[in-house]
């Protein structure tokens, strides 16, 4: 690969032209923002350095950490966020805060040549700009953004072929899931991403935006609140009773839940007896990081969703 020709600011590949308008604009903004930052952060003499593959990466985004390890660039990661727990190798790395409490001093002290931050960490990006440290912005996660990010990270970390291979493998697995549900009925699905344990209070559902909504579509389900193009929204028992979903999928990060807990939490829904999902015992509690971390492991979520959406 000719290092000089690669830059994070390259225009979005033509594949993205089919993406919804908002998403395309977001990617464009991201590309622009990163291009600006890259331009600001590296004055002319450093120009050569910033296009050379990075070797000292600080990742504040667990999903990006997973991507780097998945493509074999794990040894270039020198520090991670306080929420990083996968792969197990990260446990030996220093932790430098997270979304709300990044430890600027420690990060600079580690002399990174790339820091991966969340889209919302605008002030942090400015600070790194002043410190002349390159920043990679992790965009709001949709499936296509995740794959795109993986390839872009691969280019920065000097592993473009490996990243490409990983991303294509994910794409292929998703295509397999898509093919396995083709022609099957598409159940209306309520995708719950948060709830007060033991009650039906403060229910948050996935709207029609984000990687979970994408995965649900791939797995052959139709989001009951897909019309609202938001990553999450609070829904009430009334809106659920009125929406009448055929399936309820509740996703939770891995926790040491016992079978009794899962059983109890599933039965919390029993009081909404007129909802088809409840009546037909199609309330599913799916557990695992795959459902909450928008990284390479998200691919494991799609077949699990397909399995409960289309039982044999």
């Amino acid at each position: 690969m000719a290092a000089g020709t690669e830059s994070i600011g390259t225009p979005a590949p033509p594949k993205l032209a089919r993406a919804p308008h908002g998403e395309r604009r977001r990617v464009a903004c991201l590309a622009l923002a990163v291009a600006c930052l890259a331009a600001c952060a590296s004055p002319v003499p450093d120009r050569g350095d910033s296009s050379r593959p990075v070797t000292r990466i600080v990742s504040l985004v667990p999903a990006a950490t997973e991507m780097l390890f998945a493509m074999g660039a794990g040894l270039r990661v020198i520090a991670v966020s306080s929420f990083d727990h996968y792969p197990p190798d990260v446990e030996r790395l220093p932790r430098v805060g997270a979304l709300l409490d990044p430890d600027m001093e420690r990060i600079i002290g580690l002399r990174p040549d790339l820091v991966i931050v969340f889209e919302g960490q605008v002030e942090l990006r400015e600070k790194f700009g002043q410190a002349r440290i390159d920043v990679f912005v992790y965009p709001r996660p949709t499936v296509s953004n995740i794959l795109q990010t993986m390839r872009a990270l691969g280019r920065r970390a000097g592993m473009p072929a490996e990243a490409q291979r990983e991303a294509s493998a994910i794409e292929q697995q998703l295509d397999e899931v898509r093919a396995s549900v083709r022609g099957l009925p598409v159940p209306r699905t309520l995708l719950v991403i948060g709830r007060e344990p033991g009650t039906l209070r403060n229910i948050y559902a996935s709207g029609g935006f984000g990687f979970l909504d994408d995965l649900l579509t791939i797995a052959g389900g139709a989001n009951a609140f897909g019309d609202l193009k938001r990553e999450n929204l609070q829904v009430t028992t009334e809106t659920i009773l009125a929406a009448r979903p055929d399936v309820i999928i509740e996703v939770v990060a891995s926790q040491p839940w016992r079978p009794a807990d899962i059983e109890r939490e599933t039965h919390v829904w029993d009081q909404l007896g007129s909802v088809p999902a409840v009546r037909n015992h199609r309330v599913y509690l799916l557990m695992g990081d795959a459902f909450v971390t928008p990284g390479p492991r998200m691919v494991q979520a799609a077949p699990k969703m397909a399995e409960v959406l289309h039982p044999r």
Binding site: L99, P197, T199, T237, E238, L241, G273, S274
Partner: protein, 351 residues
């Protein structure tokens, strides 16, 4: 309500005849009671989804198949009942605290009850125990425990220095405890992950979507106990409002009254917050509006506020459910949107 405004100036010392007070009490409770009843009956009929009342009560359709009935009995009726309970408890507690502290700006949350409740709730959200360790949801329980903890601290401080209950220390300790607990809440927040932060913020906004009758039944005995205590208070509060010494000279057991007022109002607040979160402004706007209409005699103000508070909060919750449907607005935001400007108007008007 005209009788209320006519003799407002003379009634604080308890001069109006028993007859006129009784008549005003009857008129006020009838009017506010009717208002609360109408709002509570109408609230379950209003919502983002149209339902037919005939279908709701149609016994020929089994309940599990009757969407209209489920929306009515599961989604809406518990909310209306919770709103009525929380609204009346907060409004009545506001009246009692304003009299006890002799401060029109006092709210049910002034003495740290809600901050203690919030700290308890947030600890339960951030450090969840094993799920099945408790038979009841942990958050309301923890918030109740937190509010009782705060009440205990404030009371201990207010009685520590000398005999009696110093309302000055009570007020200062409460305000300080509020600030201190808020800082602790932020400290705990620092250890929570993103989803826990969302839940915490949501809890702090206040919410009445209880979804079942269980939490209402759990809060009911505490609220009833508080209201039974309130029944003893109005006459003494009238005298306390003039001053502790004046009240004592007229035969009021000042310490006993203060203690009863403090604990009963705190209990009502704690129960209300554990059910609906810290819903603001109800405890200050409702009492002032009621005083404007019926005068300052606590024998009328206290029951009227309790009834009006119920209707007010249930009406606010209807707005919360319908304004941006199907997206739900937190009811605490509605009460603040109505209560804030109203209270400012009240301040300007009284000059």
């Amino acid at each position: 309500m005209t009788t209320g405004t006519r003799d407002r100036g003379s009634e604080i010392g308890g001069t109006p005849t028993a007859y006129s007070i009784r008549r005003r009490l009857i008129v006020a409770t009838a009017v506010f009671g009717l208002l609360a009843l109408v709002v509570c009956l109408a609230a379950p009929l209003v919502g983002p989804t149209p339902i037919r009342l005939a279908r709701v009560f149609d016994r020929s359709i089994p309940f599990r198949d009757n969407v209209d009935a489920q929306i009515f009995f599961i989604a809406r009726l518990p909310r209306a009942l919770a709103g009525a309970l929380v609204g009346s408890a907060l409004a009545a507690a506001g009246v009692v605290f304003q009299a006890l502290l002799r401060n029109p700006l006092a709210t049910p949350f002034t003495l740290g009850v809600s901050a203690g409740a919030a700290l308890g709730a947030i600890l339960a959200i951030t450090f969840p125990l094993a799920l099945s360790a408790l038979p009841v949801p942990a958050v309301p329980l923890a918030s109740l425990a937190g509010s009782l903890f705060a009440v205990g601290i404030v009371y201990a401080l207010a009685t520590a220095r000398r005999l009696g209950l110093s309302t000055h220390v009570l007020l200062l300790a409460g305000v300080t405890l509020n600030a201190f607990f808020s800082a602790l809440i932020l400290f705990v927040q620092y250890f929570s992950d993103q989803s826990q932060t969302v839940r915490t913020v949501r809890w702090l906004m206040g919410d009445l979507d209880v979804a079942t009758y269980t939490p209402i039944l759990a809060a009911l005995p505490l609220t009833i106990a508080a209201f039974v205590a309130f029944a003893w208070l109005p006459r003494s509060l009238n005298l306390l409002a003039v001053g502790a010494d004046a009240a004592a000279s007229r035969g009021v057991d000042v310490l006993h009254t203060q203690r009863l007022a403090f604990f009963s109002a705190s209990l009502a607040t704690g129960a209300a917050v554990s059910l609906g979160g810290p819903i603001g402004f109800v405890g200050i706007v409702v009492p002032h509006l009621v005083r404007l209409l019926v005068g300052a005699d606590h024998r009328v103000v206290l029951p009227s506020s309790a009834l009006f508070g119920a209707g007010f909060l249930v009406a606010c919750d209807v707005l919360a459910r319908t304004l941006l449907a199907p997206i739900e607005l937190p009811v605490g935001i509605i009460t603040a949107m109505i209560g804030g400007p109203f209270f400012l108007w009240l301040l300007v008007r009284s000059r």
